[in-house]
């Protein structure tokens, strides 16, 4: 009997016998992985590792079972266990999983400004609240290192490159005429509102093989997807009115929107006074429309269309014929259409396609005018009276296929096609016309691989192959960048690449066979990022070859060959800090640039007129919650730039430098105030922003260069049209969808 009892007891004990499972979990470097989870598959039993990586638990499970060890950021490990017998302590070593949060990011040369990437430097709110930018995308980019403070013409002059060496891409496709048409000595704004973009990447060099036809820099803009909700907006200021709406479909899968704006700067110019006499006050009509829709599970189709019509006419006293004036009158029409589609094809394939179509028409009339503002033809200066009509049609299409490989590694490849059709008609004072017509087909193929060797080391290897029908030549452009994580928040990157660009349209058709201009970039970068601070230091060397040279042919500056060359080298520092004081944000950038080049009509290698040796920016933003007001200030400084009087010397049949000098240093202090009277108010689906901005508050004299008389005897400083510019405006946006209000009031 007692034996039976004993047997029963043993049986019971055996039935309920627990197995103790214990051990430690470390990573590949031998550091404990605290919080790792240990579980017996298909059972409730398990534990989490403590701060020393140790774990211990009891289980009543029996037989052969699988133990799963997992932790955030590591690859899971499985091991078979025989439960029911005693198990010696286990030791696991987890391998790091390559993931976006931890992995090094290839950043050499680029500044990324978007919400989705961790490496955010500037976002769209930053762009509109930068005091000197006047809500212009490139205005804000000019506060970043690498960009010059060039005030006499539009565009981004990056690291010793001209504005033409920076190309802009919207949703992957190249944008022609990103800026309003040039007016002599008056910088124009970008055409597109910063509000249509969710992401901005400013690359000052070393960029991906996906982009081409830009020697110096790429500005890559990504338009927004579906809006969060339907909304309307109204903007009012003494110089502009605008209205727009966005409608989100009830099923939240598609949206459409339209915007219209009219700008007329008459009042501002009348109050502030302008140096040139504007006989046609700048007036702009702009309209845009968009449609965005989800396609299937993961597809996104977007259309964006833009139209604008603008006029500007101004006259300045002539330096050549005293008592006369030189008048310039411009009418511009532009439209731009962009259609893009992206989709995931299965788990690992992704496609990104886009096409853009644009038309640009300029009608320019230039003439000498007498004291009574009547057109006049003056002997020897007949060429100052001319008409210029241009009509350009541009098509760009691009497709990129991406294949995700192991971890974060990926392979991308695709093609790009660009077509330009430029008609130009030049009419002389005597009615003689000189039409010309240039078309170009540029075809490109590219492939690029992101290789993540570990979380700490990544490489991007790419090549781009291009053919230009105009040049009838092919180029091959390799690009390489490497990034290595040196600490938890810091990394070092290197980039190398070759970049090609076709000759600028204005010097075509050429007088001789041409080839691609070429730039070779070498970049080294160190970066330390925390969630509230960014520090980066970058050094670069850029070598230019085959730069375009020009000569006067029939009174027109015409491309004659690719005999130019040059270099640019320097270093840049950027520091942004949002944590020093609450609601206080500032950034500082400094660029040092040493560059020389021989191109266009330069007689030999000289420091170009668009390059300052030292450029610095201080941007400060402070939001005072009690006042519901944001105060922004921006101080920009650049050392003087060289200027030259380059004239064609008929004696030597060559261009020569007849006078030169250096402009005074550039200083500009800009302030802006944004007042938000009903920010985040209850039931507040309406949001008002009142803006006051003043650029160059101190009225510092800014000289961008000099204009010379034809005979070189007189020169006159090129200055901005107004010394300071003041802008006052109110922007009201309201949600049409008022469900939130209804819920709140029905509570």
């Amino acid at each position: 009997m007692s034996a039976f009892l004993l047997l029963l007891l043993v049986q019971t004990v055996r039935l309920h016998a627990q197995t103790i499972v214990s051990g430690t979990i470390k990573d590949s470097k031998g550091q404990p992985v605290a919080g790792a989870s240990i579980a017996i598959k298909d059972s409730y039993d398990g534990a989490t590792a403590d701060s020393s990586g140790a774990f211990r638990f009891a289980t009543t499970e029996k037989g052969e079972r699988v133990l799963v060890v997992s932790a955030l950021g590591y690859k899971s490990v499985e091991q078979k266990l025989m439960l029911g017998t005693s198990i010696p302590p286990l030791a696991f070593s987890l391998k790091e999983e390559i993931n976006e949060m931890k992995a090094v990011v290839i950043t050499a040369g680029t500044f990324e400004a978007s919400d989705k990437k961790r490496a955010t430097v500037l976002n769209s709110i930053d762009i509109v609240t930068t005091a000197s930018a006047n809500a212009d995308v490139t205005g804000a980019i000019k506060t970043l290192p690498g960009a010059q403070q060039v005030g006499e013409s539009e565009g981004l002059f990056v690291r010793g490159g001209t504005a033409a060496e920076t190309r802009t891409f919207i949703d992957g496709t190249l944008v022609n005429n990103f800026f309003y048409t040039s007016v002599p000595n008056v910088a124009q704004r970008g055409r597109f509102s910063p509000f249509i973009f969710k992401g901005t990447v400013f690359s000052a060099g070393g960029y991906s093989a996906l982009y081409g036809q830009a020697l110096s820099s790429a500005l890559i803009l990504e338009s927004i997807d579906l809006p969060k909700r339907s909304s309307g907006s109204i903007g009012l200021s003494p110089i502009s009115v605008s209205a727009g709406m966005q409608k989100l479909a009830a099923n939240q899968r598609s949206s459409w929107g339209v915007n219209y704006g009219y700008t007329n700067v008459q009042l501002a110019f009348a109050l502030l006074g302008t140096k040139p006499d504007f006989f046609h006050i700048p007036q702009f009509h702009t309209g845009d429309a968009n449609y965005r829709t989800k396609v299937g599970k993961s597809g996104m189709l977007k259309y964006y269309g833009y139209f604008s019509q603008n006029v500007t006419g101004l006259r300045n006293p002539s330096l050549d014929t005293l008592g006369y004036k030189e008048a310039f009158d411009l009418t511009n029409f532009n439209m731009y259409h962009n259609l893009s589609y992206r989709d995931n094809l299965g788990a690992r394939w992704k496609i990104n396609t886009g096409a853009s179509f644009s038309v640009n028409r300029d009608d320019i009339a230039a003439n000498l005018q007498d004291a009574a503002n009547r057109p006049a033809v003056v002997t020897n200066f007949e060429f100052k009276n001319f008409g210029l009509k241009t009509h350009g049609i541009y098509v760009n299409a691009k497709a990129v296929v991406e294949r995700r490989l192991k971890g974060l590694s990926a392979l991308r490849f695709g093609g790009e096609y660009n077509y330009s059709d430029d008609r130009l008609n030049y009419t002389l004072y005597n009615g003689n016309t000189y039409p010309n017509y240039v078309t170009e087909h540029t075809k490109a193929l590219f492939a690029e691989g992101d290789v993540y060797l570990t979380n700490s080391l990544a490489a991007k290897l790419g090549t781009r192959l291009e053919h230009s029908s105009l040049l009838d030549k092919v180029n091959v452009a390799p690009r390489v960048s490497l990034a290595y994580k040196v600490g938890k928040e810091s990394q070092a990157s290197l980039a190398y690449g070759i970049f090609y660009q076709s000759p600028e349209r204005r010097y075509l058709p050429p007088a001789a066979d041409l080839t691609f201009a070429k730039a070779t970039h070498y970049i080294a970068q160190y970066q330390k990022l925390t969630s509230l601070t960014t520090f980066r230091a970058e050094a670069f060397y850029k070598k230019y070859d085959h730069l375009l040279k020009t000569a006067l042919v029939d009174n027109r500056e015409t491309a004659t060959g690719n005999g130019g060359a040059g270099y640019a080298k320097g270093f840049e520092i950027f520091w942004r800090d949002k944590k020093l004081i609450k609601n206080f944000d500032y950034w500082v950038s400094y660029s040092f640039l040493d560059t020389r080049r021989d191109f266009l009509n330069y007689p030999y290698q000289i420091e170009p007129s668009f390059a300052a040796r030292h450029t610095a920016n201080l941007v400060v933003k402070k939001f005072i919650t009690g006042l519901k007001t944001q105060f922004n200030a921006n101080y920009q400084f650049a050392t003087g730039r060289p200027y030259y009087n380059i004239q064609y010397d008929n004696a030597t049949n060559k261009f020569g430098i007849f006078d030169q000098g250096r402009t005074p240093d550039f200083n500009s202090l800009s302030l802006s105030v944004n007042y938000l009277p009903n920010v985040f108010k209850k039931g507040g689906s309406q949001m008002t922003v009142l803006v006051l901005s003043v650029t160059n508050v101190l009225g510092s004299r800014q000289v961008f260069g000099y204009n010379y008389a034809y005979n070189g005897l007189r020169k006159e400083a090129i200055v901005p049209p107004t010394k300071t510019f003041v802008f006052i405006g109110a922007f009201i946006s309201f949600g049409i969808d008022r469900t939130q209000d209804v819920i709140n009031s029905n509570l």
Binding site: S37, D42, G46, F680
Partner: protein, 217 residues
């Protein structure tokens, strides 16, 4: 006959086993579900989350353990955060919580409680960088909360979250302690009336509402 009895016995045996399993599930869950309302230690909350996840993975058909595993992750982040949340800390937690919650959602579609938790995850992401993330995650959270209300207008947790929003938002941004008090009181009323569909369904939140009300008195 013998065969029949055997079959019957076998049947009863199987039934008991099934029952026992469910009993085991309920037993394993009960004390853990209760702990959600009392635990404030981040490490213990993460342990709790792991325990829920093990149960969820073993059961495979129950949404509650996935839901609680996700909730415990979010609670751990909030109790650790103390207003010092950073994106690099909050985002991986939010990712993990979202992955768990989507498993719960696959098992229980259109559940008000799941949308409540979505709102909390959006809050977590937003608070990591409010200046830049308000537009995105503020809207996302508001939408989730709205869906939670539509799916179950009597869910007390929707009132609790709304009240907390009002409580923590500065006055000049539309916050109001007075409205928060009204909402906490409304939440308590809803807690009194609330009947969970099963004993393991979410009932948490009452002590939190009481705590905030005591702060407002």
């Amino acid at each position: 006959m013998k065969k029949r009895i055997f079959s019957l016995l076998l049947f009863v045996g199987v039934l008991t086993a099934a029952n026992a399993q469910s009993e085991k599930y309920v037993k394993a869950m009960q004390d853990k579900v209760a702990a959600i309302d009392t635990l404030r230690n981040p490490q213990m909350l993460l342990d709790l989350s792991a325990a829920f996840e093990r149960i969820a993975d073993a059961e495979k058909t129950q949404w509650q353990p996935y839901y609680y595993a996700s909730l415990a992750q979010v609670s751990a982040a909030f109790s650790r955060g103390n207003g010092n949340l950073k994106p690099e800390i909050a985002d991986p937690v939010a990712d993990k919580a979202e992955a768990l919650l989507s498993k719960a959602e696959a098992l229980a579609k259109d559940n008000s409680e799941i949308f409540v938790l979505k709102k909390m995850i959006a809050n977590l992401r937003m608070l990591a960088d409010p200046m830049n993330r308000y537009m995105t995650y503020g809207a996302q959270g508001a939408q989730a909360l709205q869906t939670a209300k539509t799916l179950n207008p009597e869910n007390p947790r929707t009132f609790l979250l709304e009240a907390e929003d009002k409580y923590f938002t500065p006055e000049q941004f539309g916050g109001s302690k007075e409205e928060a008090r009204r909402l906490f009181e409304a939440a308590l009323k809803k807690y009194d009336a609330f009947k969970p569909a099963t004993p393991l369904d979410p009932i948490w939140g009452r002590p939190t509402a009481q705590y905030f009300l005591s702060q407002l008195k």
